[in-house]
C-alpha cells in the first residue's frame, strides 16, 4: 500500500507510538491505538489513489520531519498581529502547534461555552462519544495518523441554548525550528439549540524550516444548533497543510462553513465532509481559493445526505494566478432514504495566467428519486471588455484587476456575516492580486 517508504516507515517504526501518549486518564488510548493500526493498513496515498489523483502528496513528504514539537515555543503578542482582523471584536484562543496558550488567549467566561485542551478533556463523556467516530474519517490515512499521534488541540463545548455575544477567533500559530510534522486535533460540540461563530486564522512564524500541518476538526451539531465556521488559511511559504473537517448534523441544525485559502502555503488540501443524520438541516459550504506562485490548493468536499428533507448548498470559487494549481472535487451522496433532498453545488474558476491550472470534478451519487440536485463548473479568464471599461474610466490595470477579482469573489464574501471579516477579505484579495501583478 505504501510507496513513500521513508515517511511511512518513519511513522510506523521511527517515532514513539500511541502508547506513549498521555492524555487525561489515558481515556482515548484505545481509540489512538485503533487509529494507528488503521493508518498502517491504509498506508499513504499516491496519485493512483482516486482521491489524490491531482495532488501528489508524496513530493511534500520527502523531507525529513520530526514529530517532536516545541513544547514552549515563545510567541509574543506582536507575532500574532498577522492574524489580526481590524475592527473585529471577538474572543481569542491562541494555539501554538496545537497547544492552547492561556496567557495569550481571551476566553469566554461564566457562560455555557467551555474551551479546554483536548488532552485535558479526554475523559469527558462527549469526547468519548465523538472522538474519531465520524464515518468519513475512517478511510482517510492522514486523519488516522492524526488520531493516533496528535499532540493536542481544542475541545469546545456549547451547552443547550448557549450563545456568545461575539465570535470566537482561534489563532493557530505554527512554528518549527527544524522541519516538523505538526498534528493538532479539535472537537467542537454544540448541544441542542446552541449557536456559535468561529473564525480560524493561521500564522506561520518561521520560514527557515518546513511546517507540515496535518489537522483534524470534528464538529457535532445537535438538534437545532447553528454554527458559523470561517476558516482563513493564509500562512508562510514553507508550510504544507492537510485539513480534515468533518461535521455531523442532527435534525434542524444549520452549518455554515467557509474556507478561505489565501497565499502562500505550498500545499493546502482541505477535506471537508458533512454527514446529515437528522432531517430538516441546512448546510452551506462556501469556499474561496486565491492561489499565487506555485501554490497547490486542493478542496475535497463531501455532503452525505442520509435522511430525507435536508438542504445543502455549495459554492466554491477559485482565482488562480502565476503557476498556481487548483483542484476541486465535490461529492454529493444522496442515499435511497433521503427523499426531498435539495443539493446544489457550483464551482467557478478564474484563471489569471496562462500557466495556472484547475482540475474540477463533481461526483453526484443519487439513489433517491424525489430530489432536486444540480452541479455546475466553469472556468474563465478575465473579461477583457470589463477590464477595458474600468481602465477607460482612469482606473489602472492593477486596481481594475483587483476590483474584478473582488467582484468575482463577491458571491462568497457577501455570505460572510461579520462586516469586519468581509472588509478584511476584500483587502487581502486586493493585496494579493496587486502583488501577483507586480511580480
Amino acid at each position: 500500500m505504501t510507496s513513500d517508504k521513508s515517511f511511512y516507515e518513519f511513522i510506523s517504526n521511527g517515532v514513539p507510538g500511541p502508547e506513549q501518549k498521555v492524555d487525561a486518564d489515558n481515556a482515548i488510548m484505545p481509540a489512538r491505538k485503533l487509529a494507528f493500526s488503521r493508518f498502517k493498513e491504509l498506508g499513504l496515498p499516491t496519485i493512483k489513489t482516486e482521491e489524490w489523483r491531482y495532488t501528489n502528496v508524496q513530493r511534500f513528504l520527502k523531507d525529513a520531519f520530526t514529530l517532536a514539537q516545541e513544547e514552549q515555543a515563545t510567541v509574543t503578542p506582536d507575532q500574532l498581529k498577522a492574524a489580526n482582523i481590524p475592527q473585529l471584536d471577538s474572543y481569542r484562543i491562541v494555539l501554538v502547534n496545537g497547544r492552547l496558550q492561556a496567557d495569550l488567549s481571551e476566553l469566554p467566561t461564566g457562560g455555557k461555552i467551555t474551551v479546554s485542551k483536548l488532552s485535558d478533556a479526554a475523559g469527558n463523556a462527549q469526547l468519548q462519544a465523538w472522538f474519531d467516530k465520524h464515518p468519513h474519517l475512517q478511510s482517510q490515512p492522514f486523519a488516522a495518523l492524526n488520531a493516533a499521534l496528535f499532540a493536542d488541540g481544542l475541545f469546545i463545548e456549547a451547552g443547550v441554548n448557549a450563545t456568545l455575544d461575539k465570535p470566537l477567533q482561534i489563532i493557530h500559530v505554527y512554528t518549527a525550528s527544524a522541519n516538523a510534522f505538526i498534528q493538532p486535533r479539535h472537537l467542537v460540540v454544540l448541544h441542542k439549540s446552541a449557536t456559535l461563530e468561529i473564525i480560524e486564522s493561521a500564522v506561520g512564524l518561521n520560514d527557515s524550516a518546513i511546517a507540515f500541518v496535518n489537522a483534524v476538526t470534528e464538529v457535532v451539531l445537535e438538534e437545532n444548533a447553528e454554527l458559523w465556521h470561517y476558516n482563513i488559511q493564509s500562512t508562510i511559504k514553507n508550510s504544507r497543510h492537510i485539513y480534515h473537517t468533518s461535521a455531523t448534523q442532527k435534525a434542524d441544525s444549520r452549518y455554515h462553513h467557509f474556507n478561505f485559502t489565501l497565499p502562500s502555503a505550498e500545499l493546502t488540501r482541505n477535506n471537508l465532509s458533512v454527514a446529515l443524520t437528522g432531517s430538516n438541516t441546512e448546510t452551506n459550504l462556501h469556499g474561496l481559493y486565491l492561489a499565487t506562485g506555485s501554490q497547490h490548493v486542493d478542496n475535497h468536499t463531501f455532503v452525505d445526505h442520509l435522511v430525507p428533507n435536508c438542504n445543502s448548498n455549495e459554492l466554491y470559487k477559485g482565482v488562480l494566478l502565476d503557476d498556481a494549481n487548483g483542484v476541486f472535487t465535490g461529492k454529493i451522496h444522496v442515499h435511497q432514504d433521503a427523499q426531498k433532498t435539495n443539493a446544489f453545488q457550483q464551482n467557478n474558476n478564474l484563471l489569471m495566467s496562462e500557466k495556472a491550472n484547475i482540475n474540477s470534478q463533481p461526483q453526484l451519487e443519487i439513489y433517491a428519486d424525489d430530489v432536486k440536485c444540480s452541479h455546475g463548473f466553469t472556468v474563465g479568464r478575465f473579461s477583457e471588455e470589463s477590464l477595458f471599461y474600468l481602465r477607460s474610466r482612469g482606473i489602472g490595470e492593477e486596481a481594475a484587476k483587483s476590483l474584478l477579482v473582488n467582484a468575482f469573489a463577491f458571491d462568497i464574501t457577501d455570505q460572510v456575516h461579520i462586516p469586519a471579516l468581509q472588509d478584511f477579505l476584500a483587502e487581502k484579495i486586493r493585496q494579493y492580486v496587486a502583488g501577483a501583478i507586480n511580480n
Binding site: 477583457e384 470589463s386 477595458f388 477607460s392 474610466r393 482612469g394 482606473i395 476590483l403 473582488n406 458571491d411
Partner: protein, 254 residues
C-alpha cells in the same frame, strides 16, 4: 484640443479607418454620422485605446500629448471620456465604489489627494441631481440589471462625475425611447461649457434635435467624406446616406 491627422487603423488585419482628419477645439460639439459599418464606433475605440485595434498610420494629439502613446487609463486621466454604446455589467462592483476608485485614481495622477468621503458624497449627490440619475441605482452593482436607458444615463452620470475635457458619446441614443433620449440629452446639455468638447457619434439625426452640434461630419468607408453644420444632419435625415455614397464613388471614378 484634439487633432487627428491621417489616422489609419485596422482590426484583425482588416482596414477600418483609412485616413481620418479632424480638429476639435474646446467648447465645440461635433457630431459624427454615417451608415452602419462606416467606422464610427471604431474611431471612438481607437481614441479610447481599445487593444484589439492597431493604428498603422497617422497621429492623434490631445492637449499637446501624443494620445496613441498612452494607456487607456492615462487617456482617461488626461481628460478623455468614452460613453460606451454597450456599457458593461460588472456584478459585485458597486457603482459608488467604482466611481470613487476612478475619481481618486484620476486625482492621484494629477497629484491631488483623494476626496474625503463626505466631499465625494456631496459631489455625487450634486451630479446625480444635475443629470437626473436615480439615486437608488448608486449602491447597486455596476450596470447589473439596469435597463438600457438606465445604463446610458449612468454613462452620462459618470461623465458628470469625472468631468473630462473631451467626451465621446458612442451611439448613446441607440436603444433609447424618446423620453429616455430627452433625459440623456438634457444631461449632456447641462454639462456643455466653453472648456469642454464633445464628439457625438450617432446613426440618426434624432439625437441632434436635442444636442445641437456645431459641426456634423459624415464618415463613410473609414474616411470623413463631408463636413457641415447642423443642416447637414437634416439633409441626411431627409435623403439618407445613398446620395453621399454615390458622390464618393463618382469622385473615386474621376
Amino acid at each position: 484640443m484634439l487633432t487627428i491627422k491621417n489616422l489609419h487603423a485596422e482590426v484583425d488585419g482588416k482596414k477600418i479607418l483609412k485616413g481620418i482628419n479632424l480638429e476639435i477645439r474646446k467648447g465645440e460639439m461635433h457630431a459624427i454620422m454615417g451608415p452602419n459599418g462606416s467606422g464610427k464606433s471604431s474611431l471612438s475605440s481607437v481614441l479610447a485605446g481599445r487593444e484589439n485595434y492597431t493604428v498603422t498610420e497617422g497621429e492623434v494629439i490631445f492637449e499637446g500629448k501624443n494620445l496613441l502613446d498612452l494607456s487607456p487609463e492615462d487617456r482617461a486621466r488626461e481628460g478623455l471620456f468614452l460613453a460606451f454604446q454597450y456599457p458593461v455589467e460588472i456584478p459585485g462592483v458597486s457603482n459608488l465604489h467604482f466611481l470613487k476608485t476612478a475619481l481618486n485614481e484620476i486625482r492621484t495622477y494629477h497629484n491631488l489627494p483623494p476626496l474625503e468621503s463626505k466631499e465625494f458624497l456631496k459631489l455625487t449627490k450634486e451630479k446625480q441631481q444635475l443629470v437626473d440619475f436615480n439615486a437608488n441605482l448608486m449602491n447597486r452593482s455596476l450596470n447589473e440589471g439596469f435597463s438600457g436607458g438606465e445604463k446610458k444615463r449612468n454613462e452620462v452620470f459618470q461623465l458628470a462625475m469625472l468631468d473630462p475635457k473631451l467626451a465621446i458619446l458612442d451611439e448613446t441614443d441607440s436603444g433609447l425611447d424618446i423620453d429616455a433620449l430627452r433625459i440623456v440629452a438634457a444631461g449632456v446639455n447641462k454639462l456643455r461649457n466653453a472648456d469642454k468638447a464633445f464628439m457625438v457619434i450617432t446613426h440618426y439625426q434624432r439625437l441632434l434635435e436635442y444636442i445641437v452640434p456645431d459641426f456634423v461630419h459624415v464618415l463613410y468607408n473609414g474616411q470623413i467624406v463631408k463636413t457641415g453644420t447642423k443642416e447637414l444632419a437634416l439633409e441626411l435625415e431627409e435623403k439618407g446616406y445613398d446620395w453621399l455614397k454615390e458622390e464618393v464613388h463618382q469622385k473615386e471614378s474621376v
